[in-house]
């Protein structure tokens, strides 16, 4: 089975393995992580054909042949993606275990709607949990990253 | 979690009691029983398949009888586990028979403790599954006894 991840294509073993397992164990892409295992927390968020998915309950086989982007795929020749830059400038994280998930959800949100209202931001990102409680800074970072 | 129920079978109290100890016929009444082996007069080993939606669990364990007062009272405990889903069940049960007119009223109380991964299914699902199991058991029991031409 072929997976296209961050522009590269990889031959991997599918079967009953989730995309999360394959990304970490086979491709060594450690930025995507398990937090809850049931698709509630968003720490395992990846983009598949531009849309955010929880890779903990998506079989790798279901993402075969699709364009997968993980947190490692956002940087372009070394500099941070604008959303990553906004998160950094607004200190929109503490332990940052959830940050890759929030960054990718924000990238997907702004792709769907470049200037979302505040309540749209909250509703779109409410499926990502941050136990350290960095939500205020995260919402500010997303507001800064949206096109004025 | 506790499950209480009672039902009437129009067969004599002796015949109902007799069936309780006729293991091959009794095990046919319990839906999903795979095998029953008599270890001694108080202990039986068996396998039970329980289906909840798409999930099929196979519990293997031991039934131990405690009180046996023919023909009216029986109690005991069940301990079994389903290795595949790392789950186990521990239950104590007590049943009483009483003659009511031409038939027999069977009443029982089961204290059920489901443990391990299946316990995450939550109260309502476990209770409903257990109720369905006991309802089927009652129906099969009645079928065994009422149509039997004595």
């Amino acid at each position: 089975m072929i997976l296209i991840v961050n522009g590269g294509s990889y031959q991997v073993q599918g079967g009953a393995r989730t995309l999360l397992e394959v990304l970490r164990d086979d491709l060594g892409l450690m930025g995507t992580k398990e937090g809850c295992g049931v698709g509630m927390c968003g720490a395992c968020t990846v983009l598949v054909d531009g849309r955010p998915f929880s890779s903990c309950h998506l079989l790798a086989a279901q993402a075969a042949g699709k364009e997968i982007v993980t947190i490692e795929g956002l940087q372009r020749n070394g500099n941070l993606h604008p959303v990553q830059q906004a998160f950094l400038e607004h200190g929109a994280f503490q332990c940052a275990y959830c940050t890759p998930g929030f960054v990718l959800m924000t990238v997907a949100l702004l792709a769907e709607n470049p200037s979302p209202e505040d309540d749209e931001i909250r509703e779109y990102l409410s499926g990502n949990l941050c136990r350290c409680g960095s939500y205020q800074n995260i919402v500010e970072a997303v507001k800064a990253a949206r096109r004025k | 979690m506790q499950i209480k129920d009672s039902f009437v079978i129009n067969a004599s109290q002796e015949k109902v009691w007799e069936l309780l100890f006729d293991i091959p016929r009794l095990s046919k009444c319990v839906p999903g029983v795979e095998s029953v082996e008599v270890l001694d007069d108080k202990r039986y080993r068996g396998k039970l398949i329980v289906k909840v939606g798409p999930i099929k669990s196979e519990f293997s364990g031991i039934v131990t009888l405690a009180e046996v007062i023919p023909p009216e009272r029986i109690s005991g405990s069940v301990e079994g586990d389903d290795k595949a889903s790392a789950s186990s069940v521990k239950a104590s049960f007590s049943g009483t028979l009483a003659t009511v007119g031409a038939g027999t009223e069977a009443a029982f109380v089961v204290d059920l403790n489901l443990r391990g991964r299946l316990a995450q299914f939550g109260g309502p699902v476990i209770a409903a599954t257990a109720k369905k199991l006991t309802a089927d058991f009652a129906r099969n029991l009645r079928a065994q006894l009422e149509h039997q031409v004595s």
């Binding site: 937090g35 809850c36 200190g91 940052a96 909250r122 409410s126 350290c132 939500y135 | 391990g116």
Partner: protein, 737 residues
């Protein structure tokens, strides 16, 4: 000046690119995966654990069970009652019975299924109050009433104090079993090289782990190396000793191959919990609005093993009195064994439960006596110079400023009429918390001849930004640019001793150790510069990375180069050793006091009982703030964290089995649970000491909300969490004739 600036976290780029090397990402050459096999019985004799079949599963390298443990198989942070894996008894659902090391998780899981375990069930008890009744099942023979610790505070004669009261209030407040739920689970790896053990672990207390492991394994502490990378959250749940003993002993059986254990979310719920607590507060007040006496009785549900409780229950005693001048105080704080997973620290340890009790009762008293809840608090709050119930004098306390800052940040509230009709209410909460009483922090600073300073610290970076703050303090102490400071995190064979990263002690304790190291380094530099500049040391001072007088100066780097020294090292230490009389609790309980306050404005839907938090304002005393943005994140983060225990967090149990061990049925606060208006203020004191704020705005959240609910609709909830169902039930009870 580096201190006081909102510099980004040292490894901020790694945090937004997902390249932080958390424990969960650790990969070692030919590393094995570990799996724990856990008890399904809450209390049973362990008759047999047959591994013969399981050992034959291809890919299984070793299996650890009770018999493998040597003599000192029992351990504990203070009471040694816990076995690395169960010996002859299991005491809670989820207790480790065996551990498997294998090449793959599939192999380990297949082996787990083939373990033949036989129990003989014993009666079990889960509620702390039942566990102390006579006839209750006994968990540990030595403790026949299941009470493993009883902390006492005796302050003066309670009879006369209560006799002087015009009104006496007695209320019981409870908080449920809860779980820290850091998104990164517990992860620990271990590898033996001969008699030397290296353990990588997500722990808040590497040196405590080192000590306990050396005791269990019977090897010197120097042969045990503990390495702690940045953590994906901890909140007290990774304090003390967690799965390190199991992993370390397992690694002894794998022939030198490293083994790594990653716990699942469900396993987190049976690894460490927040103490369920039942707190009885008996308080006497006089009509003039002052207190005469307070008697506190607390039953802390410690779970099956003492674990961290013997260190936490005495602190729970101190933290249960409250920040008000009360002449006569008596506290009985019990740590109790039950057949539940062991309890440990949960952010705002013990204060989360204690503040819920005393701040709720403040409003019960004010309401019945007809006093304004805000005034009643302001009138009685401690100020610096007051003596606390332990006899110690309070210094640097700012409870009044905290409460005024929180209350003041709320705009003028709705008029009482609107309030009643619209079911809107206000509530307040103030928190007073001690930190660790006896502890030590050491910091080593190394300055090399390029002028770069490296701080070696065992403080654990778990999202609070401790390494960034310590780097700023190092820069400030040496008076060099922040960019010239590096930090080397916890590695017990490289970084000096530190007791623990918990109870918000690090900024204060480690901060002062760094200042000491910095001061010592400056003196060394001045001594070395004197001869070079031919100026006596007394006239020299170190500033801006140089040693100088008004007309001569030399850079630190040149001082080293011209003395032929590649680098200089200085060790700084800061410690406290405070004791309290075990019988009376008199003495000194804490080096300094943590202070926080909250004000909540809520609206209650009286048809559903649902609470909407319209506004929440929080304030904490932050002393000298090192990094304003990180301090703000702690303040906001603690309020949001506090919404969990206040409104939603409760572990559901059925016969000792946790039935909601997942984040779908055990919800934690999401963005849409956060009040639209959240204001939080750090009260600073420029010339003040470095101060901890890691927990302060959390404990007031629950009582502030409950008080606001009573203000809005007149019902008092005394059992956390404050769910819509409880509010509706109370509303309907109130309407009954």
């Amino acid at each position: 000046m580096a201190i006081g600036r909102s510099v980004p976290m040292l490894d901020a780029p790694a945090r937004v690119t997902g390249t932080v090397d958390y424990m969960i990402n650790l990969r070692l050459p030919d590393m094995l995966v570990g799996k724990v096999v856990r008890s399904q019985s809450p209390h049973a004799k362990l008759l047999k654990v047959d591994v013969s079949q399981a050992l034959h599963v291809p890919g299984v390298v070793a299996i650890l069970t009770g018999p493998d443990l040597g003599a000192n198989a029992l351990y504990g942070a203070s009471i040694k009652d816990q076995a690395v894996v169960a010996l002859d008894r299991v005491r809670y659902v989820g207790e480790p019975i065996a551990a498997i090391a294998a090449e793959s998780m599939d192999a380990a899981e297949e082996a787990a299924m083939l373990l033949d375990i036989e129990y003989e069930e014993l009666p079990a008890v889960f509620d702390a109050l039942e566990a102390v009744q006579t006839g209750a099942p006994i968990l540990h023979e030595k403790y026949t009433d299941n009470i493993f610790i009883h902390s006492k505070l005796r302050h003066s004669d309670m009879e006369t104090a209560f006799a002087e009261a015009d009104e006496i209030f007695e209320d019981v407040f409870t908080s449920p079993l809860a779980q820290q739920s850091s998104l990164e689970p517990h992860v620990t790896a271990a590898r033996w090289e001969g008699d030397h053990l290296t353990v990588w672990t997500g722990s808040q207390a590497p040196f405590m782990v080192r000590r306990v492991l050396s005791e269990i394994l019977g090897i010197p502490q120097e042969s045990v190396r503990i390495i702690v990378p940045p953590l994906g959250g901890a909140y007290g749940g990774k304090g003390h000793i967690r799965i390190e003993p199991l992993v370390a002993v397992m690694a002894r059986k794998t022939g030198g191959r490293p083994v790594k254990f990653v716990l699942s979310r469900a396993e987190e719920f049976v690894t460490v919990t927040k103490h369920a607590a039942s707190i009885t507060l008996k308080t006497g007040v006089k009509r003039d609005g002052t207190f005469t006496a307070r008697q506190v009785t607390i039953y802390w549900n410690g779970g099956a093993y003492a674990d961290a409780s013997p260190l936490l229950v005495p602190q729970g005693m101190v933290r249960s009195v409250g920040p008000y001048r009360i002449p006569a105080v008596r506290v009985d704080s019990y740590g109790i064994y039950t057949n539940l997973p062991p309890a440990g620290a949960y952010r705002g340890a013990m204060s989360s439960q204690a503040t819920w009790a005393y701040e709720s009762q403040m409003d019960i008293i004010a309401r019945r006596m007809g006093w304004d809840p805000l005034e009643f608090r302001l009138k009685n709050l401690y100020v610096s110079g007051d003596r606390f119930a332990t006899g110690e004098t309070l210094h640097d306390v700012h409870f009044i400023e905290c409460l005024q800052a929180a209350a003041g940040a709320m705009p003028a509230g709705p008029s009482p009429e609107v309030n009643k009709e619209k079911k809107v209410g206000r509530g307040y909460g103030v928190m007073m918390k001690s930190t660790v009483s006896t502890s030590k922090s050491q910091a080593r600073v190394k300055l090399d001849d390029s002028g770069v300073a490296t701080l070696f610290t065992s403080t654990v970076e778990m999202g609070q930004g401790a390494h960034t703050a310590m780097a700023q303090i190092t820069a400030g102490a040496l008076d060099i640019p922040f960019e010239q400071v590096r930090v080397v995190g916890p590695d017990t064979s490289v970084t000096p001793f530190d007791s623990t990263t918990s109870a918000s002690r690090s900024t204060n304790m480690m901060g002062n150790a760094v200042l000491a190291a910095g001061a010592a380094m400056k003196r060394r530099l001045i001594d070395l510069a004197g001869p070079l500049l031919e100026i006596p040391g007394e006239e020299l001072r170190a500033e801006g990375g140089r040693v100088l007088t008004k007309d001569a100066s030399i850079s630190y780097a040149d001082i080293l180069k011209r003395n032929g020294l590649p680098s200089l090292e200085e060790l700084g230490e800061y410690s406290t050793a405070l004791t309290m009389d075990p019988e009376t609790g008199q003495g000194i309980s804490t080096p300094h006091w943590h202070q926080g306050a909250g004000a909540a404005e809520v609206e209650v839907d009286t048809e559903t009982g649902k609470i909407t938090i319209l506004r929440y304002a929080a304030a904490s005393f932050a002393g000298r703030v090192v990094n304003p943005r990180l301090a703000q994140l702690q303040n906001d983060g603690n309020v949001i964290f506090g919404l969990g225990p206040a409104l939603m967090e409760e572990m559901a149990l059925d016969g000792g089995q946790v039935t909601n061990p997942n984040l779908a049925d055990y919800p934690i606060p999401s963005i849409r649970d956060v009040p639209l208006e959240l204001i939080s203020v750090c009260i600073e004191s420029e010339e003040g000491e470095l101060h901890g704020i890691g927990e302060m705005t959390l404990p007031p959240v629950a009582p502030a909300i409950a008080n606001a609910v009573e203000d809005a609709v007149g019902v008092r909830i005394k059992d956390l969490p404050i769910t819509a169902e409880k509010v509706l039930h109370a509303l309907q009870e109130r309407l009954k004739p």
